[in-house]
Symmetry: C2
Subunit: 320 residues, 2 copies
């Protein structure tokens, strides 16, 4: 494999500093989903932890290193899950955490960030504006900026999921990964391609937020002017060049899915797996629904990456 | 501690024969639930596995021993979860599994039992009639009868949850356990009382199926003529004397909860924990709702023990 910014040794080291509550998450076959999807489906469940998303793996790495020898204050931009996880990891280590988010972010996520004791600043724009504002705060206040997917700790944390996947028995053919900023996809992808290269790594993004997918296909950064998706967790417009470079090494494909498929995926996970998930976590199931022929007869793992969702919106979308 | 039928050494040995997919399940604090409940709440999640309940732990012990040196055919009565788990464990080992259930059992459970390749026989009565019929099949056909809660393997399997609880950091004050036949309560209770006797063991049963709770309070077997609860997984009428004896040793209390509280508990777990659960799995939350003063300020673990539920019924009950 070509090099990426990640190293498998550093990812193994990251495992040592992550609170065990985020590690060794369930990985199990969900046969009740299979008649609707036409393939063998296993779920890697990243929602049964105190912040209900995989982001705690990365923020544990960030916060543990800061607690050792860094500034005691940290700021990040977040659609909500990174902020919640950073607030949790920072609280346990006495760090001063500021989260910048769009005022249009999911209310349930913002509520949890506040409840965890972080300072929350809302910007009157989208996630890219929140990123700019967080960078300005870091610059002005001289505190540590955590940039999701760019900061290697966020990728290393996510990559520990990959270690758990490749250690699993029985093995699988394909892993479907929600694609947003790219920490999850490049992290898991790096480990899979390093240790189980025969497994296919497929990234999934909404058609309404296709910047990284288009960038991957074009092999150069493509930005978009806006996003239009319910999958708030992956709704970026401006891919980070270094992350794209890594994604070009580790991903076998990147596909776009429709909103209706995301909702159908959420509904399937509710009714047949007993899981209330946020839209980003249903991207893998959406990809299976949209291309049954491609996956027929294969064993596919989908990472259920988050379950922070406003109940009112969930009910409107899913009817549950 | 007085002796029970269980031994901690045998429970540790049981761990070795259980498929890891059922072990080391998530245990995590769920702060979003806490404002409604007035105490610190951690969830022990037993639903993120191929059969969506804790019963796989016990059936793995049963099936592994049968596969070594027993008959190749086995029958059990089940409200659905034991049957599904036995079907799963038996399929992996080439055992011939028959499940007897009430024709009023939860359809989703019966569907999964069939899908897993077990022979399903329905009786025109309740769970106690299914128990009688299963015993008759075992006698007539000379095959192994698995009696939930009476057969020590079912208790030992459930008890492995207890090992995982007492190994946890930080520790907790109370564990709330759904009480049906008693395998879960006596199994987990045995380990907790043996290894962390300061932790309070509280069993929770529906008011509509109070036989074992009444028996515990009366210190002798009390049966009831009927049951009236949506919590199908714990709706027995005829406690097993040997199981009651163990429960008298390990339980600090047994409480009854109302149907409305069970439904409120299911709703809280849906909206604040992202979990679709069956009624039995919400008994612990129901107990917290019914007696906030008792648990105020304490750290309570509740075992979310199953999530097999008919979606139509779920929607009618919970409105989700």
């Amino acid at each position: 494999m070509q090099e990426t910014r990640l190293s498998t040794a550093r990812i193994r080291a990251a495992r040592q500093v992550i609170d065990p509550v985020f590690l060794d998450t369930p990985l199990y076959r969900c046969e009740a989903l299979e008649p609707a999807l036409g393939c063998t489906v296993s779920i890697k469940l990243e929602t049964a932890n105190p912040v209900r998303s995989f982001k705690g793996r990365g923020t544990e790495v960030v916060a543990s290193r800061l607690a050792e020898h860094g500034p005691r204050a940290v700021v990040c931009a977040s659609a909500g899950n990174l902020g919640q996880a950073l607030a949790w990891s920072g609280r346990g280590r006495g760090l001063d955490v500021t989260v910048v988010a769009s005022r249009f972010a999911t209310e349930a996520k913002l509520d949890r960030i506040r409840a965890l004791g972080a300072k929350l600043e809302l910007v009157d724009g989208d996630h890219e504006m929140a990123r700019e504002r967080a960078a300005a705060i870091a610059r002005d206040d001289g505190i540590r900026l955590v940039e999701d997917s760019l900061d290697i700790e966020t990728c290393e944390g996510a990559a520990t999921i990959g270690l758990e996947l490749v250690d699993s028995v029985p093995s699988f053919d394909t892993v479907l990964i929600a694609l947003g900023g790219g920490a999850l996809a490049t992290g898991v992808g790096h480990v899979v391609k390093a240790l189980a290269p025969e497994v296919e790594v497929i990234c999934v993004q909404p058609e309404g937020a296709p910047a990284m997918t288009r960038s991957w296909h074009g092999r150069r950064v493509v930005t978009t002017d806006s996003t239009d998706t319910i999958a708030d967790g992956v709704a970026g417009r401006c891919p980070i060049p270094a992350v794209l470079d890594d994604l070009l090494v580790v991903a076998d494909d990147a596909v776009l899915v429709q909103e209706a498929s995301i909702i159908a995926g959420m509904r399937l996970l509710h009714d047949h797996a007993g899981l209330v998930v946020e839209p980003s976590a249903a991207l893998g199931i959406a990809a299976l629904l949209e291309d049954r022929d491609r996956f027929a007869g294969r064993h596919v793992v989908t990472i259920v990456c988050g379950s922070n969702v406003d109940m009112g919106a969930y009910h409107r979308w899913v009817g549950r």
